[in-house]
């Protein structure tokens, strides 16, 4: 068995008196693709917030490549190779699309504290940003301000920023959120391509399970803050508890 890149151990989270996550545990093997499904309010985003250091868990621990990262600041996690995207578009609105990608590419380099050399003299970052622009199908949009993109384009930019960060582990929080049915396949295709490189482990939250059945190595089901199943897609499809709790609930799109 290969070493797991991510290990989530007995995570619990309460807001005030409300318990949102209870005793959630799972592992992700290196190079694998796991999708987390579950109805709205199940606690998926909260789980991502905890893994990516945005929130501290009430109980439990998170291990990244064997290191306990519970409560570590987000910037350190990013430096270690853990990146995440957001369900609600979270970009640099008044920067250009290229700058949104370039600033990410610069984050892991030694140049990031350079004070008096012009940023464009670091051509590698700009070149990478240009490449990613093509990969996420935003060619020709590089000079636009990010806020002027359509919603679907902004979702592509979010994914592109993950490519620029080049993390070992990428967490995608509903990359197709708010995107029309026609535009979804293009987004999923970009993620499929990321998987194809074989260089990243991926954790994906997605509602549209029809589209992710075939790219997922495993699917985990979160229901009312509890992980009720975590298995291969075919087994999940047949799982009675999952069908009752989620698939049968009419929540599938």
């Amino acid at each position: 068995m290969s070493e797991s890149i991510l290990k989530v151990q007995n995570i619990g989270k309460s807001f005030g008196g409300t318990e949102v996550l209870r005793d959630v545990s799972f592992e992700l093997e290196r190079g694998k693709f796991k999708t987390i499904i579950g109805p709205n309010g199940a606690g998926k985003t909260t789980l991502f917030n905890i893994i990516s250091g945005v929130m501290k868990p009430t109980s439990g621990s998170v291990f990244f490549e064997g290191t306990d990262i519970t409560g570590m600041p987000t910037y350190k996690l990013a430096q270690m190779g853990l990146g995440r995207s957001f369900q609600v578009t979270n970009i640099f609105p008044r920067s250009t699309v290229i700058e949104n990608l370039r600033i990410v590419a610069q984050a892991k380099s030694n140049a990031k504290y350079q004070l008096f050399r012009h940023y464009t003299t670091y051509k590698d970052f700009l070149d990478l940003a240009d490449e990613i622009l093509v990969q996420v199908k935003l060619e020709g949009k590089g000079d636009r301000l990010a806020k002027d993109l359509t919603h679907a384009e902004q979702r592509k930019l979010e994914i592109g920023m993950q490519l620029a960060l080049n993390s070992k582990l990428i967490l995608f929080d509903e990359p197709t959120a708010g995107v029309s049915a026609e535009e979804c396949p293009a987004l999923i295709e970009v993620i499929r391509n990321i998987k194809r490189t074989g260089e990243h482990s991926i954790l994906l939250i997605e509602h549209k399970i029809g589209m992710i059945m075939d790219i997922s190595d495993t699917i985990a089901v979160l229901h009312n803050g509890v992980l009720i199943a975590d298995d291969e897609p075919e087994i999940i499809r047949k799982n009675k508890a999952v069908q009752d709790a989620y698939l049968g609930g009419g929540a599938i799109e």
Binding site: I103, V104, Q106, F116, R117
Partner: protein
């Protein structure tokens, strides 16, 4: 590149005006003084712009650094007969230390704490300057601070050279990798953290640079005014910095310079009629915020952009 060549002509014209100015106004000390004040306040406004315009953090205690520079230079020159240029060293050192202290105390927590702490610390120096009579001359201050040079014209040129050097330095800084991160923080601080930047470090860097420049502006100011007094460290100073940035426009280097020019010239003229000119600026400030939130430079560049949009529309 394109941007550079577009700027070349206005920059040459501006520098020519600065060089020619003393010949035009003659030895008339009054006009030379006003120009010196403008140039010094350009440095002060630009230093505040680094925080407000480039990083998006609101300090209400910027006068602290200006006041530190003023008092350090004035006291060292008057009481210990230091050469002015040497006093810049303790000014910069003390301002850097103060910036680091303020930053470490307040930047870890919510932005509002930083704003409140800067307000409190800014007042602290103002109060101390008032109370430590034996050392600071109290309310009356310490008069008799010598000018930079015997000749006012020479002083003017020295200050102009420093201001230009500061602008050149800032131009490099704001478009460096670090400068770009500051603008990312302004745009979306949480996102900047999540892509791997230690935001606290960047805020400390900008606070240190901003504080040091404001201190240098304060030091230069006492050689212009010839006297140091508590008002130099009062919150009115901070208000002035905010006025200059907001009226001129923030987030670019031209805005605060334009703002400093307008505020200094207008307050000089208004001073002949009323000493309530700050109130006047308060009203202007409200009008600017309500009707032209991008300031004067924002309006000018915005209009250019609109023309361009129309052009591209026509081409399409």
């Amino acid at each position: 590149m394109n941007n550079k060549s577009k700027l070349l002509v206005p920059v040459i014209v501006l520098i020519a005006i600065i060089i020619a100015y003393p010949f035009v106004v003659g030895q008339a000390g009054y006009y030379l003084s006003v120009a010196m004040k403008v140039l010094i306040m350009v440095i002060f406004a630009e230093s505040y712009n680094l925080l407000l315009g480039y990083t998006g953090i609101v300090s209400l205690g910027h006068a602290l650094f200006f006041g530190l520079g003023s008092y350090i230079s004035a006291i060292l020159m008057l009481r210990y007969h230091w050469n002015f240029w040497l006093t810049l060293i303790p000014t910069v050192v003390v301002c850097v230390l103060a910036a680091v202290a303020v930053g470490l105390l307040s930047l870890r927590v919510k932005a509002i704490y930083f704003t409140m702490l800067t307000l409190a610390l800014g007042q602290l120096l103002f109060v101390a300057a008032n109370k430590a009579y034996n050392f600071t001359g109290g309310e009356d201050g310490l008069p008799g601070v010598p000018g930079l040079f015997q000749s006012k014209t020479a002083s003017y040129y020295a200050i102009a050279a420093i201001t230009i050097a500061v602008i050149v330095l800032l131009r490099k800084f704001v478009s460096s990798p670090t400068g770009m991160v500051l603008q990312a923080i302004r745009e979306n601080e949480m996102r900047t953290k999540i892509i791997g930047y230690n935001v606290l470090n960047y805020k400390l860097i900008v606070l240190v640079l901003s504080g040091a420049l404001a201190g240098i502006a304060g030091s230069l100011y006492v050689t212009y005014s010839g006297i140091v007094y508590p008002a130099l460290a009062s919150s009115e100073r901070t208000m002035e910095a905010i006025f200059m940035c907001v009226i001129g426009g923030t987030g670019n280097l031209a805005g605060p310079a334009v703002g400093a020019f307008i505020v200094v010239v207008a307050s000089t003229i208004l001073n002949n009629f009323t000493n309530r000119w700050l109130l006047f600026f308060g009203i202007v400030f409200v009008v600017v915020i309500m009707f032209m939130p991008t300031g004067i430079t924002g309006i000018l560049s915005g209009r250019k952009k609109k023309e361009k949009d129309i052009e591209t529309e026509l081409v399409n």
